[in-house]
């Protein structure tokens, strides 16, 4: 099972999970998604834009920023 990431909003399509709300059952392979599949989070990137993830690493700058954020809210 592979994962593919939206290059704009960092949404990850995980084949093992699918996307229930959009009607893609767990186990639905990325290549079996319809050709007009759009990112179900931002809708502005399409199937051809998604980036395969080699491992569990998250590749986009946006996601890097989100994951490495240092929580330091100060009054």
């Amino acid at each position: 099972m592979k994962k593919y990431q939206c290059p704009d909003c960092s949404y990850i399509y995980d084949e093992a999970v699918g996307h229930e709300h959009e009607g893609y059952e767990p186990g639905t392979r990325f290549e079996d998604l319809p050709e007009d599949f759009a990112c179900p989070a931002c809708f502005v990137r399409e199937k051809e834009d998604f980036v395969p993830l080699e491992s569990d690493s998250i590749t986009s700058d946006c996601a890097k920023n989100k994951n490495s954020v240092v929580r330091s809210l100060k009054k």
Binding site: D8, C9, Y11, E22, G23, Y24, A38, A41, C42, F43, V44, R45, E46, D49, N65, K66, V69, V70, R71, S72, L73, K74, K75
Partner: protein
């Protein structure tokens, strides 16, 4: 005031204080403002006082936008994740949802308890509808979130004017096809707002139902199943508005029709000014280039942005739709409206003024420079535009 900091391995500690943080209450509380019209009417007995919220929206807000000018500041990219995790901003969105219901029911109360003239009745219905149009903006910001609570709140607030199909149509329809001739929610050069409304309102409704039909088919469900998210929101509308008709009779029917239509019209107004004439280039394979900041008309006017959860920073919103309102950015050299949205609406309602101001502005954009092939133009208007703006159109 809160300061957020980010420990960057290369730049040291980056600190940022959002100066607009406390001012976002303006967006949350603005839905209550029309109640001032009711209070002033009650205190003075003068029905024209019901016009106060509209005068404030269409005269005071554009004036404040002109006087206070623009805010060009952006949060540092490194702290955006923290800003977006700060629940304060989303709580202000949630707060606005019940306030829309309060204003709606206050208007209904006023209609059924006061002996209003026909003019007073109409003013109140129009004002209430405009406020519920503002509710579509609240639903818009909530509907772009991916968490279930925000999406539920969006459905609820969109139920006030019976526009429950908006989220699906907007996200999966408008955002995906924005600034293309196929998008019913992107206005074309030479198209006036009234003609646009006749294309946009039914077009959005039809597209939302088509999208929901396809989604439900994938799930093996009927269009009429309880999983239909459009029906879920419409059901709330039906319960509220039918209950009101049963309780107070047919005297409320014109109010509800005018109220609902005016709310939809507010959205139409926003859609009209947000992408007028802008066009994404078609690639060799027939698909369009991805949406860039220059595919939306932007406004950094601070006052109206503070009333609309930064909706007017539309360039960043369309380029990156999941970005939260508090972190939307200004970009250099993007199409810019001459005033905030309320001032721009006034221009749009008078098409000769809109065309006189916006057509030259459109043709002079850096990425267009008079090239009509880069403009989303109304079919059949090209020749007329070439003649009218001969000095601006590239040979």
């Amino acid at each position: 005031m809160k300061t957020v900091t980010f420990d960057s391995p290369t730049q040291g500690t980056i600190s940022y204080t959002d100066k607009k943080r406390g001012l976002w209450w303006m967006s949350a509380l603005y839905p209550l403002f029309p109640i001032t019209g009711l209070v002033l009417h009650g205190l003075t007995g003068i029905e024209l006082m019901l016009l106060v919220p509209m005068v404030a929206a269409y005269i005071c807000v554009p004036l404040f936008d002109y006087l206070l000018g623009e805010d060009l500041s952006n949060p540092p990219e490194e702290v955006v994740a923290q800003l977006e995790q700060d629940r304060y901003y989303s709580r202000l969105l949630y707060l606005a949802v019940p306030l829309h219901f309060i204003t709606f029911f206050a208007a209904v109360y006023w209609i059924v308890t006061q002996d209003l003239s026909m003019a007073g009745y109409l003013i109140l219905a129009v004002g209430a509808g405009m406020t519920s149009g503002l509710g579509i903006n609240t639903g818009h910001e909530l509907g772009h979130k991916t968490d279930p609570l925000s999406r539920l709140m969006a459905k609820i607030v969109l139920a006030v004017p019976g526009y429950g199909h908006f989220c699906l149509e907007h996200n999966a329809g408008h955002h995906r096809h924005v600034a293309t001739p196929e998008d019913t929610a992107s206005s074309k050069m030479g198209e006036n707002i009234y003609a646009f409304a006749l294309r946009e309102i039914p077009g959005g409704f039809k597209r939302a139902w088509q999208l929901e039909k396809v989604r439900l088919q994938r799930k093996g469900k009927s269009m009429w199943s309880p999983s239909n998210e459009l029906l879920q929101s419409y059901a709330i509308t039906a319960v509220i508005q039918i209950s009101l008709l049963i309780a107070f009779g047919w005297m409320l029917l014109p109010f509800l029709i005018i109220h609902n239509f005016l709310a939809w019209w507010q959205l139409t107004s926003a859609n009209y000014i947000e992408h007028y004439g802008l066009l994404r280039e078609k690639k060799a394979n027939g698909s369009y280039e991805r949406c860039q900041p220059h595919h939306s008309w932007n406004s950094n006017h601070v006052f109206s942005n503070l009333l609309l959860y930064h909706l007017e920073r539309h360039s960043d919103h369309h380029a990156h739709p999941t970005r939260h309102y508090q972190s939307l950015r200004n970009f250099e050299d993007v199409p810019a409206l001459p005033n905030g949205y309320f001032g721009a609406y006034l221009m749009a309602y008078c098409p000769p003024i809109w065309f006189a101001v916006m057509n030259p502005r459109l043709l002079n954009l850096q990425h267009i420079q008079g090239d009509l092939s880069k403009v989303n133009i109304l079919p059949g208007k090209r020749e007329a535009m070439e003649q009218k703006y001969a000095s601006l159109v590239a040979a």
